[in-house]
Amino acid sequence: MSQPNRLPGRGLVNRDRPVSFTFDGREIAGYEGDTIASALLANGEIMVGRSFKYHRPRGIVGAGSDDPAAMVQIGSDPASTDPNVMVTTREIHAGLEARPQNCWPSLKYDVGVLNDVFMRFFPAGFYYKTFMGSDRFRWLNWMTFEPFIRRAAGLGKSPTKPDPDTYESVNRHCDVLVIGAGPAGLTAAANAARSGARVILVEESERLGGSLNATDPEGTTIGGKAPADWIAAQTAKLAEHPEVTVLTRTTAFGYYAMNFVGLIERVSDHLPEHRRDRRQPRQRVWRVRAKQVVLATGAIERPLVFHENDRPGIMLAGAARSFLHRYGVLAGKRVLVFANNDSAWQTAFDIRAAGGEVAGIVDMRRELNEALALRALKAGIAVYPRTAIVGTHGRHRIDSAFVSSLDDSGNVRGSRSRIECDLIAVSGGWNPNVALFAQSRGKLKWDAEMASFRPGLSWQQERSAGACNGTFELQEVLAEGSKAGLEAARAADFTVRAVKQPEVETSVVQSLNLVPVWQVPSGQPREKTKAFVDLQDDVKASDLQLATEEGYDSVEHAKRYTTQGMGTDQGKISNVNAFGIMAEARGITVPEVGTTTFRQPWRPVTIGALGGQHVGAHFMPRRGTPMHAWHREQKAIFEPVGDWLRARAYPKPGESFHDAVQREAKAARTTAGILDATTLGKIDIRGKDARTFLNRVYTNAWSKLAPGRCRYGLMLGEDGMVSDDGVTACIADDHFHMTTTTGGAASVLQKLEDYLQTEWPELDVWLTTVTEQWAVAAVCGPKAEEIVAAVVDGIDLDPEEFPFMTWQDGTAGGIPVRVFRVSFTGETSYEINIPATYGRWLWEELVAAGKPHGLTPYGTEAMHLLRAEKGFIIVGQETDGTVTPGDLRMDWAVAKKKGDFIGKRSLSRSDTIRDDRKQLVGLLTNDGDHVPMEGAQIIGTPEEPAPPVPMLGHVTSAYFSPNLGRSIAMAMVKRGGQRMGETVWIARRGDKPVPAKIVHYDFLGDAVGEGA
């Protein structure tokens, strides 16, 4: 293609590397260094998509991350497609496929444009008023309408398949973080670097230099050098310092507490597929903790808000200069400049000097800068002082503007005249880019000359330099950059001397002489004026005025009501104008109106990048026991328990999960079962006060537990509610081995440390977590003794000699083991603890020894079933943080006579001694084949009454018991302990309640058997 608007010999793009890509299915030619926007403009295209609400044509307005609405969808692969990509920041590469979004069936012929026709019926708050407030629609609710509205009003399409790209996040510390590599940032970084400080310099685009890249290369010298040479010299200086990191294509997206700054680096988005380094992530998030920060983020131009100002072809004046000087592109064939300040005049001069046609400068000010007027005269540029653009014409691109002169009070005077043009370069002034400063919780200051906010009081260790600080004259910008770099390095404890800054000579307009204008008069009634403030969200000045009239005084409320600044651009170019319009409507000043929040991220960040490498298996790394590989080899089904993955069941080939659990649970009672119990939390407790300590943390008494014996304990919170349970063994008078639930291990340790360190520091007790030091295999069942005897030496395993709730040391293959005679199934059981590295060896020895006896590995599901048959609770299943030992009918586990323990006083609170509390019971459904649903509600009538239904309680556990040949359930039921034998009903969704009898929860019928 011809690139008719590309100027020979201008711009910084690489003319030796032509690149073509597709836009809207058409091939577009550009050069390496182009963005989609600059390449489109080079080819005479400016319309990119359609707006959010009214589907109005949207074109390129900015030249960088300030652009409000020129967004495209990149790629069409459902896994890697990227929505809402700004054409002004996305670099082109071969194979790049960009499509317009929010238009159907095509960019130029769009059905949604009907919204535009009905625009006057869509005032501020339209959706809320119509669908949430109106009587007419009350019979429908918001949810009915929402999907339709979302479909009509939308942006790009999210990918629907898993992201194939990789991302990473890295942590960095540095002394000085400089954000922005324009003249201020480069100078700051170079000066800080001389001190030897670790400096990170961050630049959003691919090129250092910032605003200098968007300036006439002939018009300025810095220390006698052309801007490009000065940038190169600064870059070379930075490269001399090994402690300096320069990150291009990197955006600082968030400034958080204590100088924590998030950066997003776009590592390979700009490269064609075949040039991407597969060892590199697509994008990288840098989590930087900086001692000092220099903000050099520049300024953002704001447009003037005038009637019909949203047509493609209306561009910020600075952006037009940027396209000209950085990309060598004339954004329009005939350019009309519209301004209320001096800076936009440079656009007219530059375009004229580049051979472009300038239709004139329309300036709203009464008094013009005489020097500039003279320059315009010499360049043959028509100037229209005290004049405003009051309308535009052109469907997919403007073809003319209507102008009217203004009277002394700024109102339209006289008739409109038409000026032909295909680009309006507009400037309403400059807003220092204070987003990161505001995120750092600094306070803003209203600058009346600029009519904008600038940094006022700093809160964190940062300083602003250059345009983001409201400083626009290049000589001063360099001075501020230098000062900021030196100060930052010194504040980070480095020594550095100031050096003389280079002299700047420039013919570029640096004055502003701004006369603030928030809305340009149109000479027409408000309802007929389409003066857009927010081009992405289609918010007009009249919407903001209406919101104000309806009482939305708070700027945050008005934002939500009108959607001003709520798009992906967060109102970068529009917010200050919006505040100005609201201030005028209310007759107060802009600082009195205030600003909305500058929320992170400054620019959209890919979710994938935030996730970094923490995806898939790395999302939450799981712990496995030493026997884990064995379980995997047996094709066990796993479940997460706390941080662990535990074998849930071991189905044989062709066997269902349910059948496997039934088989495993049956074997554990009829022959023998083996369970990997390694994951139980284990805490080694030592010290002469260990017994006292246990007395205080458990509900039962520990004073008399002799060495060699074990005891079950309940642990409460101070609120009296059960928080954990487990068996603790007395190793010696000053040494205990505590076990906790698998999921509770970490919180129990924290709690115990808390009491030891803060409440009872006088106790001589030391806690060590030994969960991972021991591997544990639990063998239970009638054949357990024989099987264990084949592996463990030095212990008489006969239950008569080695009674329940005791432990003994022995060996296995010469390795010391500790065997606990404790049981979670009610069967004769041996829990063999061995140093973890021998865990798999021990397990395989036991499995081999058990083979002739029918030893069956069982998983956590069978374990749950077996314990329920015996009526043992699981903390977190039978309990939910509102259950006392009395509620569990486990008063036997609470010592009446010992001293204080955690939660004791709460057990006599008026609420915990209520006699109508829910209590744990067993439930046997009349139909033994019916297994109730866990969590099902329990009611007192055979039919479900009309709501509100009185609830008696709920089912906590339910299984089909292979050993009883019927279903069993545990439940919390009001006054359950006094209702033995009563029938209750278990409610079901969409079905009749199921009758069940309340019984004691030891279904094996032996309430005082092993384990009770």
Binding site: M258, G456, T758
Partner: protein
């Protein structure tokens, strides 16, 4: 994310620490003599201070020690870190003037973000 200066380990990222609630709430030693209301005060009621707040942190993945911290919850400034058993040091803090107010600067609430006239005159 804060950087917290553990009294035993030095400055570490907040991700290494676990918050452990309000500090200087001694567990009653003779709770059996307390009324339900008095006991409930200890178990359930916390001051929820906006402003200078003494709180406990646990260096869970470091030294595993509890310690106290004096933080301005209105601004997240950490004014002091001190050991269990020690009294909070006297500090001057940038506090909200009223319980519902905001600190003059540094508030997490964006209500305070533009300099007042007094502040402009003073600076």
């Amino acid at each position: 994310m804060f950087v917290i200066d553990c009294p035993n380990c030095g400055s570490r990222d907040q991700s290494e620490f676990t918050y452990a609630g309000e500090a200087h709430i001694a567990r009653p030693t003779e709770s059996e003599n307390m009324t339900d209301a008095e006991w409930a005060e200890f178990v359930f009621m916390r001051t929820n201070t906006k402003g200078l707040f003494a709180e406990r942190w646990w260096h869970a993945t470091g030294c595993r020690k509890f310690f106290n911290m004096l933080r301005n919850t209105a601004t997240d400034e950490i004014h002091a870190v001190y050991r269990i058993g020690e009294k909070p040091p006297k500090v001057t803090a940038n506090l909200p003037l009223t319980p519902a107010g905001e600190s003059s600067i540094g508030s997490g609430n964006d209500a305070v973000k533009i300099m007042t006239r007094d502040e402009e005159n003073a600076s």
